[in-house]
Symmetry: C2
Subunit: 267 residues, 2 copies
C-alpha cells in the first residue's frame, strides 16, 4: 500500500495528496469490505494480547475537517474490539476548569495506561489549529505550543507508548455533500451545527493550519498519516491496516503466568 | 421469557434459580446465536440514539463468582456498539488513594454521564461481598454500607439514570471447568490467579453473601437479575434482551435540531 506517512520536516501541500486514494491498490469496494472484516478480526485478536500483556500503550489521534469522518472511523474501525481495553476520548470545547489549566492538562490525564488502546477524537492539535484559524489567541501564545506538543508526545513515546496520528483528508466538495446529508437526514440533524458552515467558509485557512501542523509535528516517533477519506470504506481500510501493522510490530503475546502452574489442579 | 428479576426484599436462595436456563424458552444454541446478532443490532441502534439524545444515562453492574463470565459478557454483548458512548470500568483491588476515601468515592466518579452506557465489571458490591467473605473488615463496618449503597443508587436514579444489575449465576461444577480451562489454555494463563482457588474453597460463603446482597439491594429502581450463566450463549441472550427492552422503554429518539434548519443550505 502507498505510504501516507508524512516525512518529518516535510513541506506539506494537501493538494499533493489524493483524497480519493488509489482504488487499484486496495481493490474495489466489495473486496475492501471483506478485507476490512479481516483487518478488524486481526485488530480484535491483537488488542486482546495488548490488553492481556499490559506492556504497551497505544494512542491514536484523529483529526480532520468537519465531516471528514472522525466519528465514523471510530464506529467502523474500533467497534468490535473488546471494550475493556479501549477508550475513546472526544475533546470538545474546553470547560472552565480545563481552561484554567495549560492546554495539555486535560489531554495528559487521558493518555493510555499499559494495555490500553486510546483513541482521541480531536486532540491537543485543536489548540494550534482551531485556535489559529479562529483567532482564539494571538500567534505568540499558540506558536510556543508546537514545542510543547513535540515534547509531550516524546515523553509518551519515551515512556513506552506508541503514537499514531491520522489526518482524515477530504475535499471541500465532499464536505459539502456530507454537511448537506446531515441537513437532509433527520437521524443526522443532531450532528448539524451552524458553526460548521462558518468553519466551512474558513476552508483555506484550516487547510493552511493543517499543512503547518502536519509538517512541523510529524516525527519518527509520532508520525502523521494523511488518509484519503473521501471514500469511507477506503479510509477505514487504510487506518485499520496501519493500526494492525503497528500492533504486529510490537510483537505482542499472551503473557506467561506469573506463577508456576505445573501440578496445579482445580478441585 | 422467564423473569429473572429479584423481587425487592425477597429471601433469595440461589439453589432456587437455574444456572442452566430454560432451553425451550430461548431456542437452541444455533437459533440463539442468530438471535444474539439481532439483539446486538438492536442495541447498536438504540445506543446511537442514547448517545445522540444525551438525555438518559444507563449503568449496568456485572457481578458473579470467578469464572462466571463478566469479561466474556462485556466482550460478547457490548462489543459492536459505538465506542464513543460506551465505557467499561473494571474495579480491581482499591489503590492506596482509593482506600484513603470512602468506598463509594471511586465508584461515584465513574457514574455515567448523559448519553453514556457504562458497564461496571465488578463494583461497589465487592465492598459488602469480598469484604464480608474474606473478613477484610468487621461486620459493623460493612453492614452500614448496605444503606449507603441503596442511597447512592437512589441518587443516581432520581437524577435520571437507569440502573440494571446482573448476577451471573453459575454452578460450582461449571466454575471448576472454567478455571481448569484457564490452566490448560496458554492464551488464558494470564487470567489464572491462584487466589481464585482459595476463593473457590469459599464457594458456600460467597453464595451466602450474594444471597444476602440480592435480597437486600434489589429495588424497583435498581433491580438485580439472576442470570443463568452456565451456558454463555444463553447468558448473552438474556442480558442483551433485558438491556434492549430497558432501552426500548426509555423511548429514545434522535433529537430535533437545536436550531431552525429550514432554508439552510451548504454552499
Amino acid at each position: 500500500m502507498k505510504i501516507y506517512r508524512v516525512r518529518p520536516g516535510a513541506k506539506v501541500k494537501l493538494s499533493d495528496y489524493s483524497a480519493d486514494g488509489e482504488a487499484e491498490l486496495l481493490g474495489d469496494k466489495d473486496r475492501s469490505v471483506v478485507q476490512l472484516d479481516r483487518l478488524k478480526e486481526d485488530l480484535r485478536q491483537l488488542q486482546r494480547m495488548l490488553y492481556a500483556e499490559r506492556r504497551h500503550r497505544l494512542l491514536i489521534v484523529l483529526q480532520g475537517m468537519d465531516g471528514s469522518g472522525k466519528d465514523g472511523t471510530v464506529r467502523s474501525v474500533f467497534s468490535g474490539i473488546d471494550p475493556h481495553g479501549l477508550r475513546v476520548v472526544s475533546f470538545k470545547s474546553p470547560t472552565p476548569e480545563e481552561l484554567a489549566h495549560d492546554f495539555l492538562w486535560r489531554v495528559h490525564k487521558e493518555a493510555p495506561a499499559r494495555g490500553e488502546l486510546v483513541v482521541f477524537n480531536r486532540s491537543h492539535y485543536e489548540d494550534v489549529i482551531a485556535v489559529n484559524v479562529k483567532n482564539l489567541a494571538p500567534r505568540p501564545v499558540w506558536e510556543k505550543r508546537y514545542e510543547h506538543i513535540l515534547n509531550f508526545e516524546k515523553l509518551l513515546v519515551d515512556e513506552g507508548a506508541t503514537v499514531l496520528k491520522f489526518f482524515l483528508h477530504i475535499t471541500r466538495d465532499e464536505q459539502r455533500r456530507r454537511l448537506q446529508a446531515r441537513l437532509e437526514n433527520p437521524e443526522k440533524h443532531w450532528k448539524f451545527n451552524p458553526e460548521d458552515l462558518a468553519d466551512r467558509r474558513l476552508w483555506p485557512q484550516f487547510s493552511n493550519a493543517y499543512e503547518e501542523v502536519l509538517g512541523r509535528t510529524s516525527t519518527e516517533a509520532a508520525p502523521w498519516y494523511v488518509v484519503p477519506a473521501n471514500r469511507k470504506w477506503y479510509r477505514n481500510a487504510v487506518i485499520a491496516s496501519i493500526v494492525r501493522d503497528t500492533l504486529l510490530r510490537l510483537e505482542l503475546k499472551f503473557p506467561a503466568p506469573a506463577w508456576d502452574l505445573s501440578g496445579v489442579t482445580v478441585e
